[in-house]
Symmetry: C2
């Protein structure tokens, strides 16, 4: 997750002020609503040192009714705390129904700072993760809303902030030896954070990354995240009580025809009342959703689509890489290393062409290209991952997927072929599957073949005008094109949530086909060479 | 879990035949129903070697429509399987909707046989458990019913069966060197099984222990387990679609008053039809529930309530143990070891008396007795475990609970103070909490103060007649007494599911108060001495 974070996002003072007026009013409004509905809330601030946790908590509580929340600062254990089971101090601080507990630092220190400083042993890690997930799941099951914010800054910025704090007499005490150590070993510490995010990013308590280089941007993203989570929870609680009411009414109606009219009357009255409120909250939820998308770091927009190769450069590089690939393919077979390559991208993004160049010199007995169409009846009768599991390669073989299991969080999500719950939990399911492949020794890489909208139009038109390529373009392609923005949002979220150390996403700048094909080949060649060096 | 399994249960041929006629008819009936509702089912057979997995699968499928299931035998990996990611062979064998996949051995071999034979490394265990739970959760989320059966026999019986197989030429090949090894190290292997049960006994895929010394008993319990699980799943699927329908009808009614009458009519018609079916399945579910209780190994009924001490024996033992306890208590403090003691039991079972004798010579600054009453308003506003976490002892201190967190799976379950989902997931929540305490270094023991119904009546009457004890007896005690059988079922299930290696249940034979008090003291003294030896 972390390597895809874009830390360049900023907000001007004017943008900030404009957004904040509205956000502050909404947060206050939702806090009252959560209180009325008896929803207990935990807000967890974690992240890199000097990322601004304290400052951001200060800004967040400004719009809250002070009678409704408490802030808990989690530092080194007190003598009293050290003498209790680790989770004791957190259990005792869980909020009562209708109240908010804000944690500046949390139970995650055990697998972050404590782990870095070797107070948590490696052999205890599995238990520590189990214990954290169990804690959060129990609270979520009991109706608690858990919002986890992870504040990110880069190594240089962190050092700058530490230096600034250290220079000033009044703040020098805030920079500890430990802070300096973690800055010096920033990458090592980030790897622990990455593992923590993988193990604890659950549907009942998901993480949100807050890019915190720019304080204004971070504040707006934190407010928006909290508002969206609260609005969603309010809607969920209301929906459930509506379902209960409807079911009760239906049962009552069934049991006694005579009482029917009355029961229904009451129900309808109740309905009208909540309907008005719930429209209001729905609006907030929808707008927060939109706002989140705007704040979302667009990984795609970071791609430089002007990158290109001349025909000569292309020929030369392609030839060299294909020869390397041919050799490496034999080596993979000899060393029994499996490879899984997933290709996704815009229609006409160049998947087919890239796969063709990749495999051109490979021994056809050693790889399979799996084209992924809509699932057939037998496939539909199974879990959506079943057909991909079936196609996973043997040791020493290469499996290439032309479109993949990521359909679940793109087309199925957008077209409503699966429920919201289903695509939401798919990120974890997919990460878990790819981890299984990685643990079995596989090299796993996913490519997003990226072009811009104009380039797509050019290619579509070309296809239509060329009799030999007409079969490649259908009405559906044009229809999908109309949903470009929706897809872009989904793709950005997907890239962020499923790009892992063990199965990274590679965005391929594809406006120039030459450049794209070479980049795909080079990425695969590099990854294989890297792996072969390992053993 | 395993140490509480009672392997003495048997069924006569007549009982067996009588039960099986009905069970076979029901299983066939439910299989058709599951097919009609498109429910995919996985039935997993695991357990000790020679416990009869093959035989029992043979008996189970006798009543099934052979077009509806497949049996997968999981032995050593084939060359093909060895060359794929471990979970590949299981993913590819998941059943299509409406079909049943039966596994003779399964994905658990990785953390059982493979672990025992050191093919699975300790450092990979956390990932292996994560991967298994993820696999099962994904399938359950997708509507699969997962039934996991664990067949138990003891070491002696296992050896006898291996010897018998080995003697016969035709079956000798079935006993491998590995089987013999696992029999020789039965206890070590059982500990791995115990850990496996702890880590993978989830609400979405729970384990059922099948006592398999007597084959007839095992068959009946397997049939009953499968029937109950199927009936429950059918009811769940129907309930969900009913809820959907009711909600849809309510929404439709709201939207268009004119269409109202019609929508409702359709709905009611649909209802009547499913109601008939669902009554039928409900009956089966209820009866299977009753049947399961009868098959349940009653841990309580195994207690020998005739055990007693004379007044002299009592005095002497008590005096010796209390002196020991006094010394050990100081030692605990010095070594900073916390102790958590939970007391549950029948009303008038002698909890108070036992706690009094236990603490009599202990330094009052080093222990606290926490009486657990109905939760007050503040406690009710939190997770049910919150108040117990608050009372957990510091290092070196002893916390004694007079009634405990187990109220969740007894009084709250029986009186309907919590939902079925809530008490069902409480077993895992409680096991996780006690594991946290154990991992923090605590000694955790739970006592069930056991008396029989006659003895309770005698004590109640005595209390009522003695002016000084009258305050101890209320109408509620008499009311609870009427629910004796319900409580007994709950207690048996609780003892089975929450007695762990790290936090065992001890059933205290309590008809004789002298015997009970001494047993409690001795258990605590022994556990502390054992622990002090460890470091």
């Amino acid at each position: 997750m972390l390597e895809k974070v874009d830390l360049t996002k900023k907000l001007s003072k004017e943008e900030y002020k404009e957004k904040m007026d509205q956000l502050e009013a909404r947060l206050g409004r939702l806090q009252r609503e959560c209180k009325a509905l008896n929803i207990p809330i935990l807000i967890v601030f974690e992240g890199f040192g000097a990322a601004g946790k304290g400052l951001q908590i200060g800004r967040l509580i400004q719009s809250m009714d002070p009678r409704g929340f408490e802030v808990h600062t989690i530092k080194n254990e007190t003598e009293e705390e050290r003498m209790h089971p680790f989770m004791w101090r957190f259990w005792t601080k869980t909020p009562a129904r209708g109240r908010i507990a804000i944690f500046d630092g949390s139970w995650y220190r055990r697998i972050l700072i404590d782990r870095f400083e070797k107070r948590t042993k490696n052999k205890d890690l599995a238990n520590a993760f189990h214990s954290i997930n169990s804690f959060e799941e129990q609270l979520a099951d009991d109706g608690n809303l858990i919002i986890k914010l992870f504040l990110c800054i880069d190594k240089k910025e962190q050092k700058k902030r530490f230096d600034k704090l250290a220079k000033n007499k009044e703040s020098a005490w805030r920079v500890s030896q430990g802070d300096r150590e973690r800055n010096a070993h920033y990458e090592e510490y980030a790897a622990m954070m990455e593992e923590m995010l993988f193990q604890t990013d659950t549907d009942y308590a998901p993480w949100t990354i807050i890019e915190s280089m720019d304080k204004r941007f971070a504040t707006v993203k934190i407010y928006t995240t909290v508002i969206k989570a609260m609005a969603d929870q309010i809607e969920k609680v209301r929906r459930e009580s509506e379902e209960q009411a409807a079911l009760k009414a239906a049962k009552a109606a069934e049991q006694a025809e005579t009482e029917h009219a009355e029961a229904e009357k009451t129900e309808t009255e109740g309905k009208t009342e909540t309907a008005a409120d719930s429209d209001d909250v729905s609006n907030i939820a929808r707008e927060a959703d939109q706002e989140m998308k705007e704040l979302q770091v667009s990984i795609l927009s970071g791609a430089d689509l002007t990158l290109r190769y001349s025909r000569e450069e292309y020929k030369e590089k392609l030839d060299k890489l294909q020869k390397k690939m041919e050799k490496l393919h034999g080596e993979l077979y000899r060393r029994r290393i499996p490879v899984v390559l997933g290709f996704e991208g815009w229609d006409a993004g160049g998947k087919g062409g890239a796969i063709k160049r990749l495999t051109q010199k490979m021994d056809p007995r050693g790889y399979v290209v799996n084209p992924t169409a809509s699932p057939n009846d037998i496939e539909k009768a199974h879990h959506y991952l079943w057909r991909f599991w079936r196609a996973m390669p043997k040791d020493g073989h290469v499996a290439i997927f032309d479109r993949t299991w990521y359909g679940r969080v793109m087309v199925e999500r957008i077209e409503g072929f699966c429920t919201t719950d289903e695509w939401k939990r798919a990120y974890k399911e997919i990460n878990d599957m790819e981890k299984d492949l990685h643990d079995a020794g596989a090299i796993v890489i996913k490519f997003w073949m990226h072009i811009d909208k104009d380039e797509q139009k050019r290619r579509f038109t070309e296809r239509q005008q060329n009799p030999e390529k007409q079969w490649k373009i259908t009405d559906e392609d044009w229809r999908n094109r109309e949903k470009w923005d929706q897809y872009e949002d989904c793709v950005n979220e997907m890239l962020m949530r499923t790009s892992t150390e063990y199965a990274p996403w590679v965005v391929v700048e594809g406006n120039d086909k030459y450049y794209a094909r070479v980049k795909v080949l080079k990425t695969v060649v590099d990854a294989i060479e890297e792996r072969l060096k390992e053993d």
